[in-house]
Amino acid sequence: MSETRGVAVGFYGVKKIFTKGRNLLTVLDKLTLQTEENELTCIVGPSGCGKSTLLNLVAGLSPVDAGRVEFRGRPVTAVNTEIGYITQDSNLLPWFTVLENILLPLDIRNVGKTSAQRRSLALEWIAQVGLDGFEHHYPHQLSGGMQKRVSIARTLVYDPDVILMDEPFGPLDAITKMVLQNLLLRLWQERQKTIIYVTHDIAEAITLGDRVVIMTKRPGTVKAVLPVRMARPRDAFSLSETPEYAAIHRQFWELMRSEVIEADESRG
């Protein structure tokens, strides 16, 4: 895997405003940030600080109100089809089986020459995420964790270079979460894709990230960008027992604390 670094996504003086009835809500303001290629960048911040909005800007699903968002040096002006986007909800198509859901992006993007090739690629990824035997199940027949696995496979199967992940493991129970974090760590180790991972959980950011961006409360902007100096490959189950982890956690939490507490107070 090539180690050439460069800027994957750049935010330059970004502002984003939502209108709620007659009220204007400034979600992001004067936000400038660059994320590196082949790095797993985690973005943490208090809830409502515009983390998810950042990803929607990169995906081109929503326009900026000021400033610009650049993807590999080019401004994002339309839906960005060079990325993979794993959203908070699994967003699987309920009328398609696991296999059909994973085949969908391959069919849309014409990956592989024949449908047999696409099928074997999809089956390969079903195995990668540990869902053998569930190919023909419908999403509602799967647990939340299994749906997440499908949604990961559905994105990685078409091999996008840059992947956006929006609190993908948020609603899962603690054990399932760590199992899936380990799955993600393993897949990242093998491929070293550029990943931008949004979470509200500092522990998760340290476990996964090469670099952690801490955001302020709304209107969100960058408070600090910090490297996570922890050796890879990492293990989500045992990482938190190491002394380095505790030190990093304390450092990050110091930075986060004031934001969280103020955000809570301003909400009343």
Partner: protein
């Protein structure tokens, strides 16, 4: 039936949600006869009781020319079905019914898509369609007879209008609540508009469209029969009206029985379609 999430009330426009019994063979209680047996026996007893009461009331409580009796109706039906004219009536009604239903469904679904996918077109057309929808459709039926004559065309048109409005509102309602996140997922994958319609919109709408197709079966037959009542030279509605003018209640009921059988057949066909299209919900 699967519970359909109902959006704004008007959208679901008189949708009759039919109860369907759960076909579970396993009885919950271990004592007594299985639930399903009780259900079936109960239903048969209810029908028998109604027929017995009807038979008893004939002449004793109500004059025969008003309510006839089950035995008389059965005899009349058996006699009627041996005459070729009744088969001509059945064929005429079925033809009008099926054509009105199909035409109305296609027009309604296409209109629903046109307005659903285009905000501007929707803004222009919706007030007029809502106004048309507010008219009791049956009141417009005589107009179609004046315009299109006594033949099948006017009945097809009445049924089609009623079905089209229902299907239009069901389709439009579905499109307006289509899940945005699923559409965005496909856009990021690089899907074109046509692909999004085929892979997301149509499957999502199938629930709404099938609910509409189910309610349209009896609706279309109402349209056809009303048309035949007003003026026709064949059809079950025509047959019933003729019997009525002769105070022949046995004939009237025998026509009604034929209509019940036709409607049940139609419902059965749509149910088969539902089982096929909504497999993913089970």
């Amino acid at each position: 039936m699967k519970v359909v999430a109902k959006p704004a009330g008007e959208v679901f426009h008189g949708e009759a949600v039919q109860e369907r019994t759960v076909p579970s063979g396993a009885a919950r209680a271990s004592r007594g006869p299985p639930e399903r047996t009780v259900l079936i026996v109960g239903r048969i007893l209810l029908v028998v009781a109604i027929l017995a009461l009807w038979q008893f009331a004939d002449e004793r409580l109500v004059p025969d020319f008003v309510i006839s009796s089950p035995l008389n109706v059965a005899a009349r039906l058996a006699q009627d079905l041996q005459r070729p004219t009744i088969w001509h009536d059945i064929a005429t009604t079925c033809e009008e019914w099926i054509m009105g239903y199909a035409l109305g469904a296609v027009v309604g679904i296409v209109l629903g898509f046109l307005l659903g996918l285009n905000r501007m077109v929707r803004g222009i057309f919706e007030p007029v369609l809502s106004a048309v929808n507010a008219i009791p459709k049956v009141a417009l039926a005589p107009l179609f007879l004046i315009a299109m004559g006594l033949g099948p065309a006017s009945k097809v048109a009445i049924a089609a209008m009623m079905v089209a409005l229902l299907m239009f509102y069901n389709t439009l309602g579905g499109i307006l609540v289509a899940p945005r996140p699923l559409i965005d997922v496909l856009r990021v994958m690089g899907a074109r508009r046509g692909t999004i319609v085929r892979k997301v919109l149509l499957p999502f709408l199938s629930t709404y469209i099938i609910a509409g197709l189910k309610s349209s079966v009896p609706l279309a037959i109402v349209g056809v029969i009303v048309g035949e009542f007003i003026g026709a030279d064949a059809g079950i509605g025509f047959y019933i009206r003729q019997a009525t003018s002769l105070f022949d209640s046995a004939g009237l009921f025998s026509g009604v029985v034929i209509l019940i059988v036709l409607t049940l057949l139609g419902n059965g066909l749509v149910q088969l379609l539902e089982l096929r299209l909504l497999r993913w919900q089970r």
